[in-house]
Amino acid sequence: MQVYFNDDPVAVPEECSLEAMVKELTQSNSKLAVAVNNTIVPRSQWAEFALSENDHIAAFTLVAGG
């Protein structure tokens, strides 16, 4: 199926978890926020979060400076 990762179309297997997709498409997931359809998914739920066709996934890192 097709999803969108940071606005780029990506083909992923059916029943693909968010965790599997993040591992596949990012160099490091040590410090990363991931949102699916504009809602941030807690890391503790990545493994069980099943992606759906045409989901829009955004990955980004937050800073702490001020």
Binding site: K31, L32, A33, A35, N38, T39, I40, V41, P42, R43, S44, Q45, A58, F60, T61, L62, V63, A64, G65, G66
Partner: protein, 246 residues
Amino acid sequence: MLTKEEFSRYSRHLLLEPFDDHAQQQLKRATVIIFGIGGLGNQVSMALAGAGVGKLVLVDNDDVAVSNLPRQWLFGSAEVGQPKIEAAAHRLTALNPHCEVVSVPFINDEKSISEHLHTCNVLVDCTDNQTARFYINRLAYRYHTPLITAAASGFIASVVALQPWLKTGCYQCLEDAVNDTQSCIDQGIYSPVVAIAGQLQAMLTLNLLTGVAPVNWGQLSLFDGTFFTLQQFTLARDPACPVCGD
């Protein structure tokens, strides 16, 4: 009741349709604790003092450095070496003598701010490291006090309004998303970016205190100064969060 001078001072806000004298009096009665008087805290404190917030509690432990001056506009060359809270209090009082400014010199000493924690309307997190941010988030959770938090580094800024005790998500829920090594010291900071973030924090605070515009709790705004984009995401509570989780 606003004085004639106050009506004149705040007249450009009072001309706004939802911003009546009741809203202005809400500001006058409000107490805001600002943690950190760096790039963010400068913007927030100037905006809130100028707008007529009655009491600002400034919490910081740093002295003014010459490298602060390009973006921390409360300070000039003459203030280099002075404690930030003292220099800021002086300038803010000059900006608006109706605003009471209280300076508290320690950031991780709850006793020094406990009296203000019981009476304040909102906490504004303008600190520059994750440890302080987690601490302030826990204070918001324990004292049931709204938290407006922002961060900026390089060309990136983020802002979010939180009510952690309602278990709708808190700053700690973002622990795995925050790269604490990307600080202003390591990465640099583009002055307009931190100013934008601070002013967005100030606007959320004024919206909360006056009710003139809604506060979208848990909506994380992410500004990228490189591409001039603003993205918005909804924060979800992490059931495994050590602060607000199950």
